[in-house]
Symmetry: C2
């Protein structure tokens, strides 16, 4: 196993549990899709051009002062576990990890900025922040984008805006994603109402690991669908109008759960804690579900001894690739369930 | 609430987890049905005679040296919670608790001997021992029976033996019951085979609280069906032939569970422990099931910090009447589930 610039033990800023509305909003993410004018889209590029493009972008990214200490990971050379680690911490997409050919990702310290090279587009710039602060992420990503644009010639049309490999990204090339933790809405089966309302205003609901993934652990990503014909400010405005309503809705349901049946809720979150504390075998899915209940318990003050950052860390560190990376070897699924249970137990025992 | 001669905190000898094969055999119980020659059976007795009979038996039982320090509980006067406490610790039957009219029970210290007065028969003598020792219980009950017979005139026929209110008890009037904990046979769905084999040789399988009760927590009582035409020694011989086979069967299945999937078994017993340790609401049924898994874990050395006597105690002390007795007040079901969870948690925390 190779060495990643990010160690599995050290997690990004976005997992520290801070930022506005961090009880419900895990993170705010912005990404921009950009392509260079002088190269074909990756769907039509040949092998030589692809290699040339990757080399060019790598040198521009690592040679510049675009973001603090950008470190470049060559994903063609990287071990599969390392690549999956980067997926698990939301620094690259699943497709980018499992893809082929010259490609990479440049990461800033503490993972606030990640720039994928040769994913669907030549460049996918991402800024990730803990809590609900898309504006702050937007200011940061604009800074990165401007710095890149001063060094590179982006494919841009006066009529359409930024040109991208897939037409759904043309225009601003921007996607805002807010990752929400909505256990009370799931528990009371009111989450469908949220989906319905959100879809009407062209926002999409996705699972934790993006398009096509199932929601797990009561986490949902809300993001814009449309990139064309709307300004960045418009997109942000919609998110700023909608997300606080969902946050209020989740908080109200939590409050009524407490008011109506505090014991029942305590029982639920403490049983989840007890299972994590004592299990000897545990799957990734069950871990997500139990941690979700514990996270709500911590946020509602029902579980006091556990810092929220630790809950957030466990979400990432119990994922398959992180477990294997920390263990320093490949593990088959049954062995992973053992290692995961042992890891969680050890961490929770530190609290006693 | 009145005072019982037995306090809910102090439990009988039969719960100390000792005795032969105590990992699987909770207790060995013997009971004799006896009636006085000069009185009608209780099915045909009138109120005056019933009162007279109770007074006579009470004075004989408390005035004599039949067993150490026999204490008499007047069940007509006893509070319902106290009566149910006695059922929960297997000292009187459900019917005796919920019955009407003059009736009572004489209890020896540490509950090894209990003698019900005016239950189905005039006297029901019971001896209870921890572990598998029906012979020892038999010697003790014969001693008690002889002592009683020297002071009372029992209804006896040279042809049939002891005469009893229900024909199924005529003859020896003896029932041997062995309470077995068979979690591995239940888990692997092999328990039905045991029932089938046992029923063929005229032994009955019953739940923890006797006839007509459902098995819970993987506990089963094996007892003889026939009292007529067989000597006490014959009945004991059958039990001595059959029960060790069931014990071996359960032990073999436990061993293969460990050999084939030690982790899986550890996971099961520790999750049960974790739930007991952390739940804030818990029903009696769930408690039985979880304690059953924990008991097996303790007996297999998978859970080390918990003495088996504590597991056995929790089985009794978490029953509804015991909980209410210890709490000193009536509790409705939802409140009982809270009190039960709090009680268990407090006890288990003493181990940390």
């Amino acid at each position: 196993m190779s060495d990643l610039p990010v160690r599995p033990e050290d997690l990004g800023e976005w997992l520290n549990g801070g930022g506005p509305d961090a009880d419900i909003v895990i993170s705010s993410r912005l990404r921009l899709a950009r392509n260079l004018a002088g190269f074909p889209f990756l769907t039509r590029i040949d092998a030589d051009q692809r290699a040339e493009l990757e080399e060019l972008l790598r040198s521009k990214l690592t040679g510049s002062r675009i973001a603090n200490d950008l470190l470049y990971v060559d994903l063609k050379k990287a071990d599969v576990i390392d690549r999956l680690c980067l997926v698990e911490r939301h620094l690259i997409s699943k497709d980018h990890a499992s893809g082929e050919g010259e490609r990479g990702v440049a990461l800033s310290t503490r993972e606030a900025v990640s720039i994928m090279v040769n994913e669907e587009d030549h460049l996918r710039i991402q800024v990730l922040r803990s809590g609900f602060r898309p504006e702050e992420a937007f200011r940061e990503i604009r800074r990165v984008d401007d710095a890149l644009e001063s060094a590179l010639d982006f494919a841009f049309s006066a009529q359409f805006g930024y040109l991208t490999a897939c037409p759904t990204n043309v225009g601003t090339g921007m996607r805002v994603s807010v990752m929400l933790h909505l256990p009370a809405l799931v528990m009371t089966k009111q989450i469908e109402k949220v989906f319905h309302a959100v879809s009407k205003i062209n926002l999409a609901v996705r699972g934790v690991y993006g398009e096509g993934t199932q929601p797990s652990g009561d986490f949902y990503q809300i993001s814009n669908q449309v990139t064309l014909g709307r300004s960045e400010e418009d997109i942000l405005k919609t998110v700023h109008e909608v997300v606080p309503q969902i946050i209020r809705y989740e908080r109200n349901v939590r409050d009524s759960l407490i008011a109506e049946n505090r014991r029942g809720l305590e029982d639920r979150v403490w049983r989840a804690y007890g299972m994590l504390e004592r299990a000897r075998l545990i799957t990734s899915e069950e871990t997500m579900d139990l941690l979700s209940a514990v996270r709500m318990g911590v946020n509602l003050g029902l579980i006091e001894q556990m810092p929220i950052s630790m809950v957030n860390e466990l979400f990432i560190q119990t994922q398959p690739a992180h477990l294997q990376k920390m263990e320093g070897r490949r593990l088959e699924t049954p062995e992973r369930d053992i290692t995961r249970a042992d890891f969680i137990r050890k961490r929770l025992n530190q609290l006693n």
